[in-house]
Symmetry: C2
Subunit: 213 residues, 2 copies
DNA sequence: ATATATACATACATGAATGTTTGTATCTTT
DNA sequence: AAAGATACAAACATTCATGTATGTATATAT
């Protein structure tokens, strides 16, 4: 009853990762034992240790999946600058939050990384990796604002890094809020108006181009 | 060598809490054993179990300390509305971030609650309590904006809850960013400009009062 | 002054998770 | 088709944290 096909083995690997997300979400990363993950995936710890070095290695693989899917959404939508860059960002932000709101798996995965884990000890090294990943995403935003400024669509009085960081912080802050108080916070009544207000107030940034030029 | 004064006992209790912060910060909440905390505090687990029911009970006490000190800063500074409410908020936000930047203990405590713990299992019930605490702080912001609107210092086109949530999300997002990438993110070069930009763009919100009235 | 409650330290019993090792069936390679 | 590599399962040894129970010195109440 051992030695499956390469494809079958790959399936086991994926099912272990899926089981890990689900277990991590229910019990938190550090309180989840490898045995729980294994049983959830319908295998034994032997299979887990065959595919992964340890729990951190699993966590790493999960992060890889998440980050890649995030970049895949971000890159094409910020690769070009439309006539109204702020409206473009506004739509992107709305879509991203709605995606999280509707896609239960993504919600759980994000929840695991942001609320159900414990970045200390071995995990602390992991923050370095996350920093690198986040830097890539951040750079996409910076490039976007820089291009928009170069094309005269946004005023140049603020450094693109500053604008990007501000947007990014608001986005992640809202995401944290949504995940942390899921259930108590309503999308249409709380999340959407906040996004709308943020981007409408950012419009001053755009408006000032007229007073300047 | 037992049975200390009530005051001495209180000191032991405090030293256990201090040790807990330090241990939680270094090793994360769930990976910290009560023995580590005890030894760090210079006592045995006996003392810990005397003062606290379990690790969650310690965590609860720590949260009480943090939340109280936060409210103590917030309440007086948002209790009254000055001539320029946005500038008032701007200063408060700057001061809060600088306090975290300079006060190592507060930085560590916040870091524990936001990054070094694992809100699942038993801890999940704890999110409910945090929700209540955060609601109080949030209410202070809402009241502030409502009063400012009533006094005609800010336009009434946006619900005070929406404005408050937006500010709050940006603040917490920036805090997360700062704590998560501490060292890689510089206060003067990254944090301060982002705060400044956020409040300068919020000014449209205030400006529009002229076009409206 | 005595009794009792307090503030711990020490010792014990239990359980559970980890990493490793060994066994083995079957896929793959040649 | 034989040999080796692969993909696990099962068993083992070790470590370690937790909760509780017990012991005890001393502060405090009466």
């Amino acid at each position: 009853m051992a030695r499956k096909t390469k494809e079958e083995a790959q399936e086991t690997r994926e099912s272990i990762l899926d089981a890990a997300i689900s277990s991590f979400y229910d019990n938190g990363v550090s309180l989840t034992s490898l045995d729980q993950i294994a049983r959830q995936a319908g295998v034994t710890r032997g299979a887990v240790y065959w595919h992964f070095k340890n729990k951190l290695d699993i966590f790493d693989a999960l992060h890889e999946r998440l980050h890649q899917s995030f970049i895949d959404i971000l890159a094409p939508r910020l690769g070009h600058v439309e006539d109204d860059p702020l409206a473009q960002l506004h739509r992107l932000h709305t879509d991203l939050m709605q995606e999280v709101h509707q896609n239960e798996i993504k919600k759980r995965t994000l929840s695991v990384f942001l609320l159900r884990c414990d970045y200390s000890g071995d995990m602390q090294d992991f923050l370095k990796k996350q920093e690198q990943s986040k830097l890539k995403a951040f750079q996409i935003f910076v490039d976007f604002f820089r291009k928009a400024q170069d094309q005269g669509l946004l005023p140049a009085q603020h450094a693109p890094e500053t604008v990007a960081r501000t947007c990014h912080c608001f986005m992640s802050g809202l995401l944290y809020e949504y995940l942390r108080f899921t259930g108590a916070i309503d999308f249409a009544a709380h999340v959407q108006p906040s996004i709308d207000f943020f981007y409408s107030s950012l419009t001053v940034f755009k408006q000032s181009i007229k007073g300047e030029n």
